[in-house]
């Protein structure tokens, strides 16, 4: 029995860890490139979840098929939020920018859940397509289809983001902007537009995470901050701006929490915070970040 328990725990850890990584990668992108720490990141995740819920219940759109729609919708929502609330920060010096972005993000955290409560009430909603409970056996463990879909999605999104930043001209411009925005301007890069697209890409990916959260757990108006906090732990663990590291760090956190739950029960959540503190104390650049 021991082996089965361990391997099942391990699989569960990977499932949840992939979602942590998916949530964190958008935050890592905006913080790494723009030095904007959007603590309202989880609110966009929540909105993405509700959107998929609507698409399923009102229009019978399969949640996995709704992913591209949610991506596009949250991209534009992010663009609007950036234009309205964050773009004024872009001219500030770095430290002031981080501090002020915290306030703006916190404002989103206060307002967006209330809007969600008006639209969808405070009830917890799950996204439950017909296949949501099914699974298949693999060796000693059962693999559920939906969480497996989440892991695949996370891997695809993170790999795509990595390739986008490494290989495409625009991706290189994004990296250049994060390294030296003034230098970027002087090579002809439209820095304001790069910021806008980067931020929107972050919220769009958060929206994808929201769909998976709705599928594997549940969405409620207050679910956002919980995921922002997880994303922050992963961000610190991985190191700022390390896209590939985010996947590894997310999986690490997921597996640790899920293994920890065997010994500590519900207190396993504390593990993440302990890691957060230990990393900040002993390796502040993160496991995969540069010193």
């Amino acid at each position: 029995m021991a082996i089965e328990l361990w391997s099942q725990t391990f699989v569960n850890g990977i499932n949840i860890g992939a979602l942590y990584a998916l949530t964190a990668v958008g935050l890592s992108l905006t913080f790494g490139v723009m030095k904007i720490l959007n603590v309202g990141h989880g609110e966009f995740l929540m909105l993405g979840g509700y959107l998929a819920y609507w698409l399923l219940t009102l229009f019978k759109v399969d949640p996995f098929l709704s992913l591209p729609l949610v991506f596009i919708a949250l991209f534009f929502l992010g663009a609007i939020a950036y234009k309205l609330f964050f773009s004024v920060l872009s001219g500030y010096p770095e430290e002031q920018k981080v501090k002020n972005s915290l306030l703006v993000g916190f404002g989103l955290f206060l307002v967006i859940p209330q809007i969600a409560r008006l639209l969808w009430t405070g009830d917890e909603r799950g996204i439950t397509p017909a296949y949501s409970g099914s699974s298949f056996p693999l060796l000693d463990v059962r693999i559920a289809y939906v969480p497996l879909g989440g892991v695949i999605l996370a891997v695809i999104v993170i790999a795509a983001l990595h390739l986008f930043l490494k290989k495409t001209y625009f991706g290189k411009a994004v990296r250049a902007t994060s390294e030296n925005w003034k230098g970027a301007k002087l090579t002809g890069i439209n820095v304001d537009r790069t910021y806008l697209i980067t931020f929107s890409l972050g919220t769009a990916i958060a929206g994808l995470g929201g769909v998976m959260v709705g599928l594997t757990q549940s969405i409620s108006p207050d679910v956002g901050m919980e995921w922002t906090l997880k994303a922050l732990i992963v961000l610190v663990l991985a190191g700022i701006g390390s896209i590939g590291g985010t996947l590894a760090a997310g999986l690490t956190l997921g597996i640790l929490e899920s293994v920890g739950a065997i010994f500590m029960g519900p207190y396993a959540v504390v593990l993440g915070l302990v890691i957060f503190l230990l990393i900040l104390m002993f390796r502040p650049q993160g496991l995969f970040g540069k010193a």
């Binding site: 250049a176 390294e179 030296n180 230098g183 304001d192």
Partner: protein, 235 residues
């Protein structure tokens, strides 16, 4: 080609440029000389669109430039190598150069531009995969110049290209700038090193406390002991 007409620039309450007028003609190498803090960097940053002038006009090829954002000014063919070089330290030499040809027009010619830059600086070809931040100061300046050339500029502005470099490297950097000028690119060169910059330029403006103090032929200034005497050793 470039006319700067009576520009005033202020940083909030502090006015740093007063009624600056200057011009650069096609193919010319013009230097801006003057002491630290005289406002030379602000002049080129204003032309590059990083700073907006309060009054006055900047005209390039008969079109008004002020109010145009920096990235559009690059598309017009004016590129600035800033004092801190502005390179991307975490990216490879090749990627730095690639981004120099970011504007659509220059991207089409990037193959030729790469060849041109690698010919000018063979060491960059050898080190094309190296992270730019790990290069020596002189090599980083080569990356900065190379990146600027990738955009196929018609007017190249260099802000203190010799800053912090060993004398022998300064010599070779200035030689390269002369070479670029000979290839037909107009150059506006900011230098504290009065003698060196006067000796490679055709005309010069001396900037003092945010104003144009004198301007004229570089060779005349170099021969005029009163100019060299007044500005050499006082900075």
């Amino acid at each position: 080609m470039l006319q700067v007409e009576n520009i005033d620039v202020r940083y909030s309450d502090l006015q740093v440029l007063w009624d600056i007028s200057l011009e650069v003609n096609e193919g010319e190498l013009v230097s801006l000389v003057g002491c630290n803090g005289a406002g030379k960097s602000t002049i080129v940053e204003t032309i590059a669109g990083l700073v907006t002038p309060e009054n006055g006009r900047i005209v390039f090829d008969g079109e008004q430039l002020n109010g145009t954002p920096a990235h559009r000014i690059v598309e017009r063919g004016i590129v600035l190598i800033p004092e801190d070089r502005g390179i991307f330290p975490g990216m490879s030499v090749r990627e730095n150069l690639e981004l120099g040809a970011y504007t659509p027009a220059s991207r089409k010619q990037s193959k030729d531009s790469f060849e041109f830059v690698y010919n000018l600086f063979p060491v960059l070809k050898e080190r094309h995969n190296q992270t730019a931040g790990t290069l020596s100061g002189g090599e980083q300046q080569m990356v900065a110049i190379g990146r600027a050339l990738m955009s196929k500029p018609r007017l190249l502005m260099c802000d203190e290209p010799s800053l912090g470099l060993a004398p022998i490297i300064v010599k070779s950097i200035l030689k390269v700038i002369k070479q670029i000028s000979d290839s037909g690119v107009s150059i506006l060169l900011v230098e504290q090193n009065l003698k060196a910059s006067l000796s490679i330029s055709q005309r010069a403006y001396i900037i003092e406390n945010g104003r144009v103090a004198t301007d004229g032929e570089s060779s005349c200034m170099l021969d005029d002991d009163s100019v060299v005497g007044a500005y050499l050793g006082t900075c």
